[in-house]
Amino acid sequence: MTRRFMAILFLLFLAVSPAVGTEKETPLPKGLPPYGELKPFPAPQTTSQKLANGLTLWLVPRRGFPKVSYALAVRGGLAADPQDRPGLAELLTATINQGTATRTARQIAEELQAAGGDLSANAGIESIVITTSVLASNAETGLAVLADIVRNATFPDDEVDLAKINAADHLQEQESDPSFLAERALARVLFAQHPYGVTSLTQDAIAKTTAQELRREYARRFRPDQAILVVVGDFDAMKMVASAESLLGNWAVPSTPPVPAVEKPSLVPPHAVFFVDRPDSVQTTIALGSLGPTEGSADYAATQVANTLFGGMFGSRLTLNIREDKGYTYSPGSFLTPRRTVGSFQIWAAVRNEVTGATINEIAYELNRMATTSPSEEELLHAQRYLVGNQAIDLQAQDSVGRSLARLWVLGLPPEELGRESERIGKVTIRDVDKAAAQYFPAARQAIVAVGVEKVIRDQLAPFQLEVRAAP
């Protein structure tokens, strides 16, 4: 079953001149030339099919740039880890390339390097994605090594032992990084005991995980009917299908049940402050968050637009306020992280200790402003154009196309979504933004994580009279 389609990303230049400001906006300079005529942006042309064993194959052949990018994803990431082995998926990705039935770890690394590639294996929340990008002339080698890794990894005892020792030290190293601490704490605050609360390993899980457990989890997750191979770049589609058939076509489907879907979390995160004491911090790393829409939900595009004009680009309200006006921070921002059953909305800023409270005040103000008042026409248009234009620019890179398509598959969405996202963004109205902002943006809805000196955090946040407790 092969289906071809071609979507068009509409660039939404609803007016050809940038001079569409409302009374709130400063007029643009007199001599500034208008934008030119818009050219439609072709979305990546994807061929979609399934091998007999259920392996999904999405191909995007593009002549010219002489490389080929592979992304192989399987269902079952950190959220699928056994309850007493949180983060096991990270050990799995650290060791999956450490040997197969016919190749040693070193041979894998050297063969890929000779083909112009590296292997990257990442444990996501609901998937594991393995990618490599090789010279087009060595495309076959790249796929052969990748196929070997996903089918025949052996997890040799000595390599697993070394990986565990290094993972324990690496976790200790990560725990000195305030962003790591904030991200881990926020996930635990938002999702508590739900599997979405797992973002990394624990020392206990590292100590207890055995090579045998890794082999078992590998067998459970790496199966063709729960996997996709995305190939993007300079290759012949017919030959690539033949290569995939020959290297992966006889990959057997086990009779055991696949990784079950994650259930939708039902909790409501508390509006309270969760601190992580980090002595000697000269900044407080602030992360606010709440539950948000999934990528498939009807209000996702409106929430994307709302997020963009709030904190998703340089000209956003958050950046203009706490960076360009107040100078509290270098790189503030907000973003949406969709998962299969629920998403999250997050706001981040690292600020010097003495403006921790003032920053929370401004963030709360901007959040509530979003929730209670409408953006101007120009703000809406600015955010829509930014999203559509930059997505199109991003999709010029092979790796981005591969990762984006693999992500869609993990979320249960078809490849056509790459074009539809832009169409939907173009149709968002001010009323839609208002509705999404009223639902997701109220400051009182957000949990607040603060990583820094505990006393600074307590003193700075005292005026808000929120409950303050140690992060879980």
């Binding site: 070193r106 010279l135 000195s176 107040k326 010029q396 000196v453």
Partner: protein, 462 residues
Amino acid sequence: MMFRRLTALLACLLGIVGAAFGAGDWRVPALTKKLSNGLVVVVSADHSAPTFGLCISYRIGFRLEPEGRTGFAHLFEHMMFEGTPVAPKGTFDRVIEGGGGSNNADTRYDFTEYVDSAPVSALDPVLWLEADRLRTLDFAPEHLDNQRKVVEEEVRVNVLNAPYGLFYAIDLPGKAFDRFPNAHNFYGDFRDLDAAKIQDVEAFFKHYYAPNNAVMAIAGDVTPAEVFAKVEKYFGAIAPRQVPPKPDLTEPPQTAERRSTEQDTLARVPALAIGYRMPPRHSQEAVVGALVGELLHNGDASLLYQALVKEKKVALEVNGGVNFVFGNPFEYDGPTLLTSFIIYPPNLKADDVLTAYDAALNGLAAQGPSPAALARISAKMQSDWYSNMEVPIDRASLLSHATLLDGTPERVNEIPNELARVTAQEVQAFAARYLVKTNRTIINRVPAPPSGGKDRGEKGAR
């Protein structure tokens, strides 16, 4: 590597890689024109998507910032976004982001680059904005006060509040070099940042931001004729200015190994930075050095990863290369280092790591690389180099830097052939001559207990 906003720092740390191999014969087109005011314009047409990338690089980086004004080149970079008398603060982002694009800037040792990426429908307004801020800026003191605060937060987030504090990029050159241009803290001492005045901003602009001190490259869905005409229209009337001559940056020779230890109250796992002084940029040995840097550090197949992480088990992570983390191994024009940044297990001593490290390097100096290892790294560098030219914004950046530093954009197509010609004997001779103790500086950075709230020297010298 100091960006106007946070972007690709991680990519830098993971090793932005340069160099190549000529076998693929994939070349990017490049046409050059010099305007009468001295502005050099490079165009690389690529009609695969209706977008363009623009990079304008000025021949001024942190190497030339004045004594007493450390961090100024980067602070100035931020001031380029603070508006002009005709396009007030905010206009720049409003027009570029509102046109579907994005922009950024970053300061390196020997140049500062400003980059824009957008649908091609925004080409005219973007060129107009870049020309406008090359005429003059809005030199309002409140803008400087604002960006000084922003930059100080940038320094906190990347240095003062971060484990390791970029010691392999800031402290290591500080100990490896003896003269201010090459040795000072490029991110800036807070006393110096606080002392910067709006007059300094005006003087810096006047001295270095001249059309005759810049190269602008545009790649994407454009034609050379169209771009040359537009650039003439928007930039042609900007007058050239006298640019100060480049001072002598030569270092006195290093004669002995330099070793020191630093305490880090934020880090929990120890790390080493090792830096070897490199040969002059414009030499065959510099090409060999670029390859050796990757042979040692590029990925899981690299010599040091295999020796230190896998065989001897004395390291958790190994990163590095020539010009690490300031771009690819060709993006500099003065004294530079081949750097190794190694995070090692807390139960080991620095000497345990160094013993294994020296054995690996001595092996390279004694035997040279195997033909297979040399072929592998050539293929990998070719592949990585191609990726650096895949999308218009990156290609524009590479073309602009090559033209600025080598006088011709064609260097981006020649480097693959130059690297392909590097022999095992050259690698061996390079290792024997440069990767020696008397040519290196080592900093051992060890975890220290919390200071108990004492001043951690934000206002002091680093």
